[in-house]
């Protein structure tokens, strides 16, 4: 009997093989994503959404010479697979030649086989509801109102191509997020893990409740330049946005990246090192990309110096290099993006950062971040769920939320303290940072 959580290697690759057999193209690639997902959402101290989904998506890329067509289906029957292959072939036949298509990757080094977590697969509606009840009980005890979500997802990903490449892995992600609200304040906590048994919802709930309590009666402060301590959820948000625009091989080729032509140059502070490490166990591991190529560890910034970018086979060919195994789905035109980012930790605790700050702000997390100018990595967004004023090395209370508008590479040049403990938000693991003269451009009313 198979111990696969969603779909085992043989079954997944058999489905891929049936689609490959149905293709008449010169080259064909098949991706299969089979998933089982469960989610429980809560608000106002009760569950309002309890949902589950099963699905299997098949994505076929067919190539005739340099002409490429892409088709997808979630019908994995023999007829569905034949149909999706035929549609991909028909599109390839109708396409114009694409000079940048390098052909499909030939079989190479086999990616490691990853398995999902059994505890996460077994984390069903009753287990999620129990985790939520723990959160709600903490909020109720503190006179607060809890909202959030608890989820557990497992999926199998298989890739096969007509040149003989084969890859299969399982992944799992368990997640809980909560925002506790009081009269005029709120607090937040969140965690991601491969193993649902490590979620510790009660401990997280205490963090959210403490933040909510400590930020009551927030005072208004003026926007402007502030010394700021960004807790890890704020840092991971910013680093993800930076990575999408800066280290994307396509953005670099097209001149849209803020590090275009700057590889080897100092782009931020010498205390900043950022890598994409797909197999680092601190993150949600991903062994291979949507071309079935093993994801390589890529050093993006070392000691402030830009070191590299990520590629798929298409951008690699244009750049005259090799793919780093960062291809997205063939239907995506976004370009290759690093999804396993790690910002190197430092030595300080958040408490030590606060103690070392004469006057500044402590930011729990950001909200609705968006690049105002991607080619300069200027990011904007709001603070939320716990923003605090620091005076004389102590937190003296909550402040109303502020809008920041800041160049990220410039901000990373003004980091003078780095946290020793990191936090994972699905794609990025990062510690807290203290940044001098961080630019807040506006304020809101709460």
């Amino acid at each position: 009997m198979s111990d696969a959580l969603v779909m085992d290697r043989d079954e997944a690759l058999e489905i891929c093989a049936r689609a490959l057999e149905a293709s008449t193209a010169e080259q064909t690639e098949v991706n299969l994503l089979a998933s089982r997902s469960g989610l429980t959402r809560f608000a106002n101290n009760h569950i309002h959404q309890s949902a589950a989904e099963t699905n299997a998506e098949v994505l076929v890329r067919a190539a005739i010479g340099n002409q490429v067509g892409i088709a997808s289906t979630n019908d994995a029957s023999a007829e569905g697979l034949r149909d999706v292959a035929e549609r991909a072939c028909a599109l390839a036949a109708a396409a114009t030649s694409d000079e940048h298509f390098p052909g499909l990757p030939a079989p190479g080094e086999e990616p490691p086989t990853l398995h999902g977590n059994a505890a996460t697969a077994a984390f069903g509606p009753a287990e999620r509801a129990e985790a939520v009840r723990e959160c709600i009980s903490v909020a109720s005890e503190r006179g607060q109102s809890a909202a959030g979500a608890c989820s557990a997802d497992v999926w199998a990903h298989a890739v096969a191509n007509s040149l003989g490449a084969r890859a299969w892995q399982e992944s799992s992600v368990a997640h809980v997020r909560m925002v506790f609200a009081g009269e005029d304040s709120s607090g937040y906590a969140e965690t991601y893990a491969e193993d649902a048994s490590t979620l510790q919802p009660r401990e997280l709930a205490e963090v959210a409740a403490d933040k909510c309590e400590r930020s009551i009666s927030p005072r208004a402060v003026d926007p402007g330049r502030w010394d700021v301590i960004l807790e890890p959820p704020a840092v991971t948000d910013a680093i993800f946005h930076l990575s999408v625009v800066a280290f994307n091989g396509l953005a670099c080729l097209e001149g849209r990246s803020p590090i275009c032509g700057r590889i080897g140059e100092q782009v931020c502070g010498a205390n900043i090192t950022l890598v994409d490490a797909p197999l680092d166990p601190r993150g949600i591991r991903r062994a291979f990309d949507f071309e079935g190529v093993p994801r390589r560890r890529v050093e993006l910034i070392r000691e402030g110096v830009a070191q590299g970018i990520v590629h798929d086979s298409r951008t690699a060919r244009r750049a005259g290099t090799h793919t780093t195994g960062h291809a997205g789905p063939a239907s995506s035109t976004w370009g290759p993006v690093p999804f396993n980012l790690f910002l190197s930790p430092g030595e300080a605790t958040v408490d030590e950062m606060v103690a070392a700050t004469e006057r500044g702000l402590l930011v729990t997390r950001f909200h609705y971040t968006n690049m105002l100018d991607p080619s300069a990595a200027v990011l904007t967004g709001m603070t939320r769920d716990g923003t605090f004023l620091i005076e004389g090395g102590e937190i003296v209370g909550g402040v109303r939320n502020l809008r920041f508008t800041e160049g990220l590479l410039e901000a990373l040049s003004r980091v003078d303290m780095i946290g020793r403990n990191g936090w994972l938000d699905d794609y990025v693991w990062a510690p807290a940072l203290r940044i001098r003269d961080f630019r807040f451009s506006g304020a809101t009313e709460f």
């Binding site: 429980t40 589950a52 699905n55 997808s72 979630n74 599109l91 509801a129 968006n370 709460f446």
Partner: protein, 486 residues
């Protein structure tokens, strides 16, 4: 389709649901995207499945459960129904108010898609040739990146409920966009037509593509992108602001459309997308905008991306007032949220992103009704200001008060005339202050419905296709130029 939805509803009721509905959704999505003379994406996606939503647990007044399955068979439909009931029972273990639904008359109906020219009748070769011609014209203007895209969605859906509703609906969406980008020392300067972020998308057929006349705009668009880096940077300070087209649509979307979603107002999105400053005690009395501001939600508009015949609870499409002469008068509702604030009926705003997602309160077509002045008269009566077009960047706080937008292009207005372009324009404000500063809305001559095909909400994430009818509007004394320290 119909058989499976009814079977799933019956199975859910047999398993203990006090209410159940089911939707089978079958989608086909096609996209052609051309970039710098080559086909960048040629895709054809098919996706179908069944979603079952139930109320169960705690003696029938319990909680919602939802299960989706991508395999369409009688066995899977029954299993999904039973799973949904189990999920609801697990949810009912926390104490909340019982779920009550506002009444709706169960409908049996079948509604075809209102298209004039079925996109299926347009061969792929013709679609490619159209985009290649636009690409040629854009690159003739020597822009670094030229992109053109055409997208088509066909959707068939059947809805059935335990109250007796049985509704079949078809939907066709068609969209297109052109983008020209110049890379310069000051960064990437982009111009889009007819709007940014996917262009224009409507619930219409190929007649929309014909009306857009893409080749006529490709060259001028690229020429403007080529010269944009030479324009002055956006000034910083307070001045009058005129918004038009897609940017006014997005302003309306973020600062009015989302805060009137009643589920969000009642807190169910609090941990993720946030809540709303438009709390229920403000209904009927809060001054949202100036007297010139009249906003409707209208799912009945022909061709709107947020138009339909019935929402995903089987409630008929409606037109309702959101803001009338500046006063906040209405929400977007579901049956449950309408009942929760004492309304007799929902205004039909529950929409799900395909079969795998639970319906949420979503925008339909949220519109700024036309005013009296022409767009030209508004510009002519502006002493000093800036006209901003086509969004680049958007952000707003979690109660939808403090917003900030960046646009592709600004046009300075001096003494009632356009005085030149500015690049990287941006502005910021607080929602009610901003709409209260609106002193002119352009008339129906330039009023059109803009599609927003990428409206995100909910967990797991859902993307809604919504619309906004707008013309142009002027706002007095707005903070522009947000990147300066001054």
């Amino acid at each position: 389709m119909e058989d499976l939805t009814k079977l799933a509803v019956e199975a859910a009721v047999a398993a203990g649901a006090s209410y159940a509905d089911a939707r089978v959704v079958d989608r086909r999505s096609e996209r052609v995207r051309v970039k710098n003379g080559a086909v960048e994406a040629l895709t054809d996606g098919r996706n179908r499945g069944l979603g079952v939503r139930v109320i169960a647990g705690r003696g029938g007044a319990g909680a919602w459960g939802f299960a989706g399955c991508g395999e369409l068979s009688a066995g899977e439909a029954r299993a999904a129904a039973v799973r949904a009931v189990e999920l609801a029972r697990a949810a009912a273990t926390t104490i909340g108010e019982p779920v009550r639904l506002a009444e709706v008359e169960p409908v049996v109906d079948s509604v075809p898609a209102p298209v004039q020219i079925d996109p299926d009748d347009i061969p792929l070769d013709d679609r490619l040739a159209l985009l290649m011609e636009c690409d040629r014209q854009m690159r003739a203007e020597r822009v670094e990146i030229a992109v053109g895209s055409i997208s088509v969605l066909h959707q068939r859906q059947h809805f059935a409920s335990s109250e007796g509703a049985s509704i079949y609906q078809e939907r066709v969406e068609t969209g297109a966009m052109l983008e020209a980008t110049t890379i310069a020392d000051c960064g990437a300067c982009r111009r889009s037509y007819p709007s940014s972020h996917g262009g224009q998308v409507m619930s219409r057929g190929w007649e929309l593509i014909n009306e857009l006349d893409l080749p006529a705009h490709a060259g001028p668009l690229a020429a403007e992108a080529r010269t944009l880096p030479d324009a002055a940077e956006c000034p910083a300070g307070r001045m009058d602001l005129i918004l038009a087209g897609g940017q006014l649509a997005l302003q309306l979307h973020e600062s009015c459309g989302h805060p009137i979603e009643l589920d969000r107002v009642l807190g169910t999105e609090a941990s993720y997308a946030g809540t709303s400053f438009l709390t229920p005690e403000k209904l009927g009395s809060f001054r949202y905008g100036s007297d010139r501001v009249n906003i409707t939600a209208d799912a009945t508009l022909l061709g709107g991306l947020g138009s339909f015949a019935y929402d995903d609870e089987g409630v008929p499409a409606q037109r309702s007032w959101i803001v009338r002469a500046g006063i906040f008068t209405g929400y977007l509702t579901s049956r449950e949220t309408a009942a929760r604030i004492g309304l007799a009926a929902s205004n039909g705003s529950m929409r799900a992103d395909g079969w795998a997602r639970l319906p949420l309160v979503r925008m339909t077509n949220v519109n700024l009704e036309p005013g009296e002045l022409s767009r030209e008269e508004i510009i002519a009566s502006t002493e000093r200001g800036i006209l901003m077009e086509d969004n680049l960047s958007w952000s707003i706080d979690d109660k939808r008060l403090n917003f900030q937008f960046g646009c592709e292009i600004g046009r300075l207005i001096e003494d009632g005339e356009i005085a030149g372009m500015v690049r990287s324009p941006s502005y910021t404000g607080i929602t009610p202050e901003f709409w209260r500063s609106c002193d002119a809305v352009a008339d129906a001559a330039t009023w059109r419905i803009w599609g927003v095909p990428n409206c995100g909400k909910g967990e797991p994430g859902q993307t809604a296709h919504v619309g906004h009818g707008v013309s142009a509007a002027r706002f007095r004394d707005v903070q522009v130029g947000v990147t300066s320290d001054e």
